[in-house]
């Protein structure tokens, strides 16, 4: 606790976490039922966004089949819940189901160098939309009712109750992801991912971690599906979980920020605000998401998270003056630059990625090629 208070950066972060958490818990008290529905939906989408952030963060790849995982969560979840299984067990069941499917997709594709996971998940999404989900054993041609049993004493009959349940699940998932990220493995994977050459050379050796990250990602997405079904109390048709939906789902974490766990929170919040907005202006939600995705990628920032961080840094630099970069995985230019931004290069483009907390009290002085970094950048 003392360490937390003595380190300003850590303290600031803790304050932000507490504020955001308080806002997430308190807002339903002041709002109407319609908004509760969108709130619950946003929390579910935030869970999907988190699953994609984990995947992108650990593998450097994206999935275009996450709507299919969501769909499996809905359909399998409906069967499990209808059988009277309590929600926590149902969560574990669908999560395990998602993880197992992910292995079928991940093992052949993640051992390869290249974007094969994206392609195989896309084909998987198509096969689900047009084949698996049409099977009577999965969904068939009729919508089924999804029960909404209470969870550990919390009633999910109202959207507000369901929202709180999803919020707890999301918080637990965030905590797990946060811990994995700051583990040694997480940090070294990040470093390797940042250097495309190293990532290629070590593709085979780091494949198990990537496959594991994908399994976790898939498990979270199917879990989100379980709650999605509960929210709608029905099993929507296969086209609701088709490839177009997967493209849309990808837009959420990209707009939020693919490199930070905050991206998932902001991605979910983006949906919560975008949905009512597009309804007012009569624009298609997917069209708006596509535009937002493109603008964010073109901006060069890591989503809205990256923009906020940059703004914060600018404000702080203006107020305090200097800036200390803490705990970067330092990959020298010569290693990161595939296009030969080698020695020289104006010396300005040293990439430093802050990975999260390391040992408290360690400060790294950034020196560039031995030259004074303050003025000779």
């Amino acid at each position: 606790m003392m360490a937390l208070l003595s380190d300003p950066a850590k303290r600031n972060r803790a304050i932000v976490v507490v504020l955001v958490a308080a806002a997430a818990v308190l807002w339903p008290v002041f709002t109407s039922k319609t908004i509760h529905f969108y709130g619950a939906l946003s929390a579910i989408y935030a869970l999907v966004a988190l699953s994609l952030v984990i995947l992108a963060g650990w593998t450097g790849q994206v999935s275009l089949g996450h709507a299919a995982f969501l769909g499996f969560g809905v359909y399998i979840g409906q069967k499990v819940l209808s059988a009277g299984v309590p929600v926590p067990i149902a969560v574990l069941t669908v999560a395990a189901f998602g993880a197992v499917i992910s292995l079928v997709l991940g093992i052949p594709s993640l051992r390869l160098r290249g974007v094969y996971l994206t392609i195989v998940t896309l084909a998987f999404g198509a096969a689900c939309q047009r084949y698996f989900f049409q099977l009577n054993s999965v969904r068939g041609f009729r919508s089924h009712t999804v029960p909404r049993p209470s969870v550990l004493g919390i009633s999910t009959a109202s959207d507000k109750g369901l929202y709180y349940v999803v919020l707890v699940v999301f918080a637990v998932a965030m905590f797990i992801a946060w811990n994995l990220r700051r583990s040694d493995t997480g940090r070294s994977l990040f470093a390797i991912r940042d250097s495309e050459e190293a990532a290629q050379a070590l593709a085979v050796h780091i494949a198990p971690y990537k496959i594991g990250a994908f399994a976790l990602s898939a498990a979270l997405a199917t879990t989100a599906g379980l709650f999605y079904g509960m929210l709608y109390a029905a099993t929507p048709g296969p086209d609701q979980f088709g490839i177009l939906q997967s493209f849309f789902l990808l837009a959420l974490p990209v707009v939020g920020g693919l490199e930070s766990l905050w991206g998932a929170v902001i991605g979910g919040a983006f949906l919560a605000t975008a949905q009512p907005l597009v309804n007012v202006f009569h624009i298609r939600l997917f069209l708006a998401s596509a535009v937002a995705l493109i603008l964010v990628v073109l901006s060069g920032y890591d989503g809205v998270t990256g923009m906020i961080a940059a703004l914060w840094r600018a404000v702080r630099t203006a107020v305090v003056g200097t800036e200390h970069v803490r705990y970067g995985s330092f990959v020298p230019d010569a290693a990161t630059a595939t296009n030969g931004n080698g020695n020289g290069n104006g010396k300005a483009h040293v990439r430093v990625r802050v990975l999260g907390e390391a040992v408290p009290g360690t400060f790294v002085r950034l020196r560039v090629h031995g030259a004074g970094s303050e003025d000779d950048r």
Partner: protein, 294 residues
């Protein structure tokens, strides 16, 4: 037996469209090292222009509209490169790929926004007469589609594998900065190559009709089938892209013909992709070993 032959012929005909898409994907990969996931959406957008704007609004004859649509496709290719893909390429594979997804979603949604969620009856430039062949009729349109594939595949193979232009394409893909240092007209070569890719997407859109009616997402599904072939050839080989596409077409057609469960063919394509990945895995291992010798 005639039934089998019929499926094979139909599959080959369908495979020509997959091949057209695969060729476009490979060409764009060769210059920009990105799997252009927006390829199908580009084709659909151009083809909707063909039907709604050039024929519908402007009342052009089909042949003129056909040519104009190829130009639109080329323009789309150039535009997508200039505005979206080019600016983010230096930021790595992940961002570039995500960008193509954004463009895919944008174009697909724009198509719906402009023209509604309809499936227009796209006319063919070619006569509808049919030639009996192995128990099934093959239309002139289908023959023409095959002709286009042969022409495009041959032309691209010559251009990319046998000329100095193709060497420059490879150089630009490997290191655009060095290509500029050497004095290559990088901008022009990138533009021309994407224009070819875009035009091939438009062509695939206009010829798609013998598969099915064209909706907003049709060609993106075709893109998936084409990717199986492209993966087999490591996104690099034009002949494998064409032959693989024909193979996928036949497999798809047989699966659809013999197994009546809806969408079963889609499942088979997914399995084929997993198979292609295993093949790719083997070839990557071999290439790694080759490098290790030096």
């Amino acid at each position: 037996m005639t039934r089998f032959l019929g499926y094979v012929v139909a599959g080959l005909a369908n495979g020509t469209i997959y091949a057209l898409v695969a060729l476009g994907v490979v060409v764009i990969y060769r210059i920009s090292r990105v799997v252009n996931l927006a390829h199908g959406a580009m084709g659909v957008f151009a083809t909707y222009c063909f039907f709604y704007v050039f024929i519908g609004d402007w009342g052009l004859p089909v042949a003129a509209a056909f040519v104009l649509t190829l130009v639109v496709g080329a323009g789309l290719g150039v535009g997508v490169e200039r505005a979206f893909v080019g600016p983010v390429r230096s930021r790595g594979t992940l961002h570039t790929l995500v960008m193509t997804v954004g463009v895919l979603l944008l174009l697909t949604e724009a198509t719906v926004q402009f023209w509604g969620p309809n499936t227009p009856p796209i006319p063919s430039v070619f006569p509808d007469t049919s030639i009996r062949f192995g128990g099934t009729g093959v239309s002139v349109h289908q023959f023409a589609a095959a002709g286009f594939v042969l022409l495009l595949a041959g032309g691209l193979f010559y251009l990319l594998n046998r000329t100095r232009y193709g060497t420059a394409v490879e150089a630009i893909a490997e290191d655009p900065g060095a290509a500029r240092i050497v004095g290559l007209p990088v901008r022009n070569i990138v533009t021309v190559t994407w224009a070819i890719g875009g035009a091939s997407a438009a062509l695939a859109g206009m010829l798609y009709i013998h598969l099915n009616t064209l909706d907003q997402i049709s060609l993106t599904f075709v893109l998936i089938y084409s990717l199986v072939a492209a993966v087999l050839g490591g996104f690099n080989s034009l002949p494998i892209a064409v032959l693989g596409s024909l193979g996928v077409g036949v497999t798809f057609s047989l699966a659809q013909g013999y197994v009546k469960t809806p969408g079963f063919a889609e499942f088979v394509v997914f399995l084929a992709l997993l198979g292609a990945l295993l093949v790719q895995q083997r070839s990557q291992q071999t290439s790694l070993e080759t490098v290790a010798e030096f």
